[in-house]
């Protein structure tokens, strides 16, 4: 309950954060209702079935965004693909945030050689180009599911979350209230969970948003090379499709423009959440931020 009021207070303090969250909520809502929307578009039949309609229809009242080379309704495809893209963001976001948080707490709180080892390892993963590893992984691991791709992307995206949160843990663990908890016989795990974690929520939020961004970006990248997971259509795949079939030259611009616009909107929203949180919770930015 108190968490909720704290969250609401935070949102009220930043228009940027609020805007980002609203856009995000709208996109999530569309994704949640995507089965219904798709159904409504199809009006009894599956609009994403092969040869459901004539191919390469231009946008019109029947097909808001036209149809593709297989005669599928592009609008329905985009709605469904949005859900998939959000899903991958959520999967990878959760996994990398959880891993990142654990590593950050162990490294930041325990310190010493454990911190050295973990930080060096995190540093390596942060700096080395991981995309080759990712594409190679998906190339070899054929017929991967969406979840597996999410896990694969998380392998490379947790260091970002770990790095941000570790530096916060380092600064928080020397706070006097941590000392006070210690002299009140609190154990390490208790201090981490009750004293540190609540104050780190915004940074964990930032870590989640960044990882989700990275994952969506990563999946789109895989699709562009043609190495995405089988059986699902995500926004990247529609773009890949549009390029591959020369949809641009055929005048089927929505196949290309709409997914890009949606992804850009999604990136912008997540980024606004990111920056909004940073501005609200960084006391040095708080005083002077805002335009």
């Amino acid at each position: 309950m108190r968490l909720l009021t704290a969250v609401l207070r935070t949102i009220r303090n930043s228009r940027r954060l609020a805007t980002g969250l609203v856009i995000l909520a709208l996109l999530v809502l569309v994704a949640l209702f995507s089965p219904l929307i798709v159904k409504a578009v199809g009006g009894g039949q599956d609009p994403i079935e092969l040869a459901a309609y004539d191919k390469w229809q231009v946008p019109g009242p029947q097909h808001l965004l036209g149809t593709d080379q297989f005669g599928r309704d592009v609008f329905a495809m985009v709605v469904k693909a949005l859900a998939v893209s959000l899903q991958i963001g959520a999967i990878a976001g959760v996994i990398s945030t959880v891993v990142g948080v654990i590593v950050a707490f162990v490294a930041g709180y325990k310190g010493g050689w454990i911190d050295n080892v973990l930080s060096t390892f995190t540093g390596i993963l942060l700096v080395i180009p991981t995309f080759p590893l990712l594409i190679a992984l998906s190339a070899y691991a054929k017929n991967v599911s969406l979840f597996q791709v999410g896990v694969m992307i998380s392998i490379f995206s947790w260091p970002f979350a770990a790095k941000t949160i570790r530096s916060q843990v380092l600064s928080l663990r020397t706070r006097p209230y941590v000392d006070l908890a210690r002299v009140s016989k609190a154990r390490d795990i208790e201090i981490i969970v009750t004293e540190l974690l609540p104050n780190l929520l915004p940074f964990i939020g930032v870590g989640f948003a960044s990882s989700a961004l990275g994952a969506i970006f990563g999946l789109v990248g895989l699709e562009i090379i043609g190495l995405g997971p089988g059986g699902v259509i995500d926004l990247g795949q529609i773009i890949f499709n549009a390029i591959g079939t020369g949809a641009l030259t055929l005048g089927a611009w929505p196949m290309f423009v709409v997914p890009i616009a949606l992804l850009t909107l999604l990136f912008a929203a997540l980024n606004m959440v990111n920056i909004g949180l940073e501005e609200v919770y960084n006391p040095r930015l708080r005083g002077v931020a805002g335009e």
């Binding site: 020397t174 000392d179 006070l180 210690r182 002299v183 609540p198």
Partner: protein
Amino acid sequence: MKSELELRGVQQRFHARGVADGYVTAVDDVSFKLLASPPQIVSLVGQSGSGKSTIARNVLGLQKPTAGSVLYGGKDIFKLSRSEYDAYRRDVQPVFQDPYAIFNPFYRVDRVLWKAVKKFKLASTREAGLKLIEESLQAVRLEPENVLGRYPHQLSGGQRQRIMLARVHMLRPSFIIADEPVSMLDAQVRKHFLDILLDFQREHGMTTLFITHDLSTVYYLGGEVMVITKGQIVERGPVATVMHEPTHPYTKLLLDSIPSPDPDQRWTTRIQVDELERLDDNTPADTTKPEAPVL
């Protein structure tokens, strides 16, 4: 009853870059003993970087000394059995410097009091706990209804610092380790705070280790004083004696540096403080301090 807290040859070194041997010695062979009875007030006075706050952390078991030991009832506090550890924690409690940072901004202020009730099993029921909390708040001249349920930022520095005293009042430790508890309070509030500490000594028999940079508060509290500089205690004795007949040149320098609030008693002589000597160690002045600079 374990009625002694003793530092025996405590040394604390920290890693530091850019200094002669890679270490700075914050505390250097410090020994002293605090007795629970008769209750006493012992002040530890020194300037920034003298090592006085590190000693507080050593005594509280927050920092293990590089050498020497901190003994509670004759036993090293870092080697206590579980029951001894419980007793030590109960018996040695702090008041910290910064009344803002001592509260976790996420929680209401009464949480620190409830934590004390629960962790040290001061009361078995919620009602009994609340009664205890209210009593202790009143003992430090706070109205329970004015502070309970508030967030830290809604209270003044003086109120917050007194909540920490209320916590001490509840726990009734034999030893209070007070690390610059009044340096961030205004003059009026400061006097209040010191009076409560004196009350605690008289009425509840608590012994206080009072760490400060300010000789005038030491004078107000009375009792014993130890002067520390560069990690070493250079002079100790009853406050009146040390203030009136200082023997160590550093104590004299400290006393001479307090500006007299009388325009007819202006300094006529000059003192030289050679800050440049630090440069000759090739020591970056601001990076060798092991602790965060105090505000």
